[in-house]
C-alpha cells in the first residue's frame, strides 16, 4: 500500500530536545496571549 499521511499542522516543537517558550503571566509581550485565553 502506497499510502501517505496528509499533514494538517506540523509539530510545534522538538518533542525531545528544544526548550519551550511560553506565554507568561498574565500577559505575554511576545505573542500577545492572556491567561484568560487559556480558560
Amino acid at each position: 500500500m502506497e499510502e501517505k499521511m496528509e499533514v494538517i499542522f506540523e509539530e510545534q516543537h522538538d518533542v525531545d530536545n528544544e526548550s519551550v517558550n511560553m506565554c507568561t503571566y498574565p500577559y505575554c509581550f511576545e505573542c500577545g496571549h492572556y491567561c484568560g485565553e487559556r480558560r
Partner: protein, 418 residues
C-alpha cells in the same frame, strides 16, 4: 520498538478518514483507518515511520511520556529562578469607574496607591528588576484612574535607565487620545478592553459613574484612536451560557468596524456556577465565529498548543503589586482577606513564605499526570485551583470539546466557512 503516543487524540471525519492530533507535539495529520491502525496503533515499520516519530504520533517503547512532559515543566519553572524580575503587574488602584456584576475583585478592599508607595515601588524595581527589559502590566481596578502614577513611575524608571515595555488592562473609558499620546513615550504596546454587549446593553452592564448618555460610543471612539496610534488592542468578550448570542452580534460589529486590525477573544465568566460542560456549546458557537473572522488562526489561539506551565505566576520571580505595596502571585488572591496571601512586599522584598511555597511547589496531581490534556493545560489555572480547592472545576474547557475543536481547526485549514 515503538508504541503509539499516549497523547494522540483521534476524530473521525465524514469522508471516512481519521484526524490524529498529538497534544504534546501539536502535530495534526489526516490518514485512512488502515494507515492509522497499521502505522500508528500497531507501529508497523513504514517509509513514514521517522516522520511519525518526529511528529510525536509514535514514540520509542521505553519512553515515559508524562515524565517527558513534566520535565519540561520543571525546566521552565526554575530556569528564571536567579534572574532579575522581567514581568511585573501593578495595581495602582482597586477602585473602578464601572461596576460590572461579574467582576472577580468585587468585595475586595478598595485602596489607591500613595505617592510614598509609588516611590517605594520604583526603589523595589531598581533593586530587583532587569534594567535591560522589564514588562509592566498596568492593572486594577481601573488603572486609568491613576494616570498620574503611570506617568510618574514610568518616567522615573526611564530616568534610571530601565528599558520598559508596558500594557494596560482597562475598560477603555479613560483610555483617551492624550493618554495614548503620552504612553507612546513609555512604550505602551498593548491594551486589553472588555466589551460584553452593544450600546444600551453595554452601558447597563458597565454602570459607569459618569453622567454620559452613551459610554459605549466613548469606548468605541477610544478604540478607533488606539488603532490610529498603532497600539495593538485586544477585545475581551466575557461570556456565559446566558449572553453568548448577544456576543455574536458584538463580534459582527467589531469585525465590520475593525476587521483584523484588533484581536478578539472570548473568556468564560467564572464563579457564577458555570462549569466546563455548561459553557461547552456557547464556547464552540463563539469559537466558530472567531475562526470564520480569522480572529482564531492558529492552534495556539484555541489552546491546542503545548505549554510547559499554565501560568507564569508559578515562577519564583513573577509578582503582582497591590496599591499598598504588598506582593502577590495572582490577582485571584486579592478578594477577601488578602493578608495571608502575600509573598512579601516592596518595602522588604519577596518573602519565601508558605504562600510562595504553595505557588512554586511543582507537584502534579495523579489525576492529571495520566490525562491526555496535561501538555495543553499543565493542570490549569493554579490561582483558581487554590481558591476552589479542587481540580475538577479547573479543567480547561478545551478538555470537554477537544475533538470538536480539532475538527474545527482542520476544516478551517482546509478552507471555507465552518
Amino acid at each position: 520498538m515503538y508504541k503509539e503516543s499516549f497523547y494522540n487524540v483521534t476524530q473521525s471525519l465524514d469522508n471516512g478518514k481519521i484526524l490524529v492530533f498529538n497534544t504534546f507535539s501539536g502535530a495534526m495529520i489526516c490518514v485512512s483507518n488502515e494507515y492509522y491502525n497499521r502505522y500508528i496503533k500497531k507501529c508497523e515499520e513504514y517509509k513514514e515511520t521517522n516522520i511519525l516519530l518526529k511528529q510525536g504520533f509514535i514514540v520509542k517503547k521505553e519512553v515515559d511520556e508524562p515524565f517527558r512532559v513534566s520535565l519540561r515543566r520543571r525546566m521552565f519553572a526554575f530556569s528564571s529562578y536567579n534572574e532579575k524580575i522581567h514581568h511585573l503587574t501593578v495595581l495602582l488602584t482597586s477602585g473602578c469607574n464601572a461596576s460590572c456584576w461579574y467582576c472577580f475583585e468585587k468585595g475586595s478592599h478598595k485602596s489607591s496607591m500613595s505617592n510614598e508607595t509609588a516611590d517605594a515601588l520604583i526603589e523595589f524595581i531598581d533593586k530587583y528588576g532587569d534594567k535591560e527589559g522589564i514588562d509592566i502590566n498596568w492593572f486594577g481596578g481601573e488603572p486609568t484612574l491613576r494616570k498620574d502614577l503611570i506617568f510618574y513611575i514610568s518616567q522615573k524608571l526611564l530616568d534610571r535607565g530601565f528599558k520598559i515595555k508596558c500594557k494596560i488592562v482597562t475598560n477603555g473609558y479613560l483610555f483617551d487620545k492624550s493618554f495614548m499620546e503620552t504612553m507612546k513615550k513609555y512604550n505602551l504596546v498593548h491594551a486589553q478592553i472588555s466589551i460584553d454587549a452593544l450600546n444600551e446593553k453595554y452601558n447597563l452592564i458597565k454602570k459607569y459613574i459618569y453622567k454620559d448618555p452613551n459610554p459605549f460610543e466613548t469606548i468605541i471612539k477610544n478604540i478607533d484612536d488606539a488603532i490610529n496610534y498603532d497600539f495593538h488592542t485586544s477585545i475581551r468578550l466575557n461570556f456565559s451560557d446566558e449572553n453568548y448570542l448577544e456576543l455574536a452580534d458584538v463580534i459582527d460589529y467589531l469585525y465590520n468596524r475593525y476587521q483584523n486590525k484588533i484581536g478578539v477573544y472570548v473568556a468564560p465568566i467564572t464563579g457564577n456556577n458555570s462549569t466546563p460542560s455548561t459553557i461547552k456549546e456557547p464556547f464552540l458557537f463563539l469559537i466558530k465565529k472567531l475562526i470564520n473572522y480569522k480572529y482564531i488562526k492558529a492552534l495556539r489561539d484555541i489552546n491546542l498548543e503545548f505549554i510547559p506551565m499554565y501560568c507564569g505566576a508559578a515562577i519564583p520571580n513573577n509578582f503582582l503589586v497591590d496599591p499598598n505595596g504588598n506582593l502577590f502571585k495572582c490577582a485571584e488572591e486579592l478578594s477577601g482577606d488578602t493578608r495571608k496571601n502575600n509573598v512579601g512586599n516592596i518595602f522588604e522584598g519577596p518573602c519565601y513564605n508558605n504562600n510562595m511555597k504553595k505557588w512554586i511547589d511543582d507537584v502534579i496531581d495523579p489525576k492529571c499526570i495520566n490525562c491526555v490534556m496535561l501538555p495543553l493545560c499543565q493542570q490549569g489555572c493554579k490561582g483558581s485551583r487554590l481558591k476552589v480547592g479542587g481540580l475538577e472545576y479547573d479543567c480547561i474547557p478545551t478538555k470537554e470539546m477537544l475533538k470538536e475543536t480539532i475538527k474545527l481547526m482542520y476544516e478551517s485549514k482546509k478552507g471555507g466557512a465552518i
